[in-house]
Amino acid sequence: MNPGRDEAEAARRLRDTISTQFGRSLHIRTLDTGSCAVCEQEIRLLTAPHYDLHRLGFFFTPAPRHADLLLVTGPMIRAFDVAARKTYEAMPGPKVVVATGACALGGVYPKDPFVHGNAGEVLPVDVWIPGCPPSPLALLHGLGVAVGRLAEMTPGLTFIADSAAGGGEA
């Protein structure tokens, strides 16, 4: 069994499903599971003039019932579990969960009695966006990946810089 290949295959199938089913517009519901408030500020700027999320067919909605995509920040504080699950379950399928920021990806807080440390412990995460905070450009890329419109770059990046120039290389 090749877990890497199975994962890549599942990801491809997910992307195909998403492009077919969501068409050209997607509604996003945000969920703060205990962030420091900066990820939320970057998310709010997505609808600001410099980034204008709407031109790409993405819209925010306060109602989970109308949402297609759940954008999750924070380290998943345990006391928030019930609220997180309720929000996820209130969204009708098909739906996509995007974990955003180092806290939600398991970077800042280890698993302990206060927090799970990682959004994936409570919700089935489909796309992971690193950053502390992820900038609006990084969020736009992540949302593009979530709907299959943009290619993922990280599988091809090594983060090894052995050339003299010293930049990262693909």
Partner: protein, 112 residues
């Protein structure tokens, strides 16, 4: 609202063309490190592992395991080992598989 309207017209469009075109403001964003494997020794790797506040670095024998997802681009590893680290310049980091964010960097520096 003639005041607002006139000002808006005069200022012009500020909206980014990203993702259709690259955005130059990306050049100023902090990015995760890229490692120079030939400058890495077990010692250097251990120092960086100790200083990383987000547990994004671990060492397993002669491999430095770098979790890009956990990285906050704080720069402490670069401060500790400036010869071994350079900014990657990458900000398009989203991945559908969490494992795609775990990178293995060979430790190829000579000596200990």
């Amino acid at each position: 609202m003639p005041l607002w309207f006139a000002r808006g017209l005069r200022r012009g469009v500020v909206t980014t063309r990203y993702p259709a075109r690259p955005d130059e403001s990306a050049a100023w964003l902090p990015t995760p490190p890229a490692f120079r494997s030939r400058q890495l020794t077990r010692d250097v790797a251990d120092r960086m592992v100790a200083v990383c506040p987000a547990t994004a670095l671990r060492r397993r024998d002669d491999t430095l395991i770098f979790d890009v997802g956990a990285c906050t681009a704080c720069g402490r590893c670069a401060e500790t080992a400036p010869d071994a680290v350079a900014p990657s310049g990458e900000f398009e980091l989203a991945a559908t598989a969490r494992s795609a964010l775990i990178k293995e960097i060979p430790i190829r520096g000579g000596g200990r």
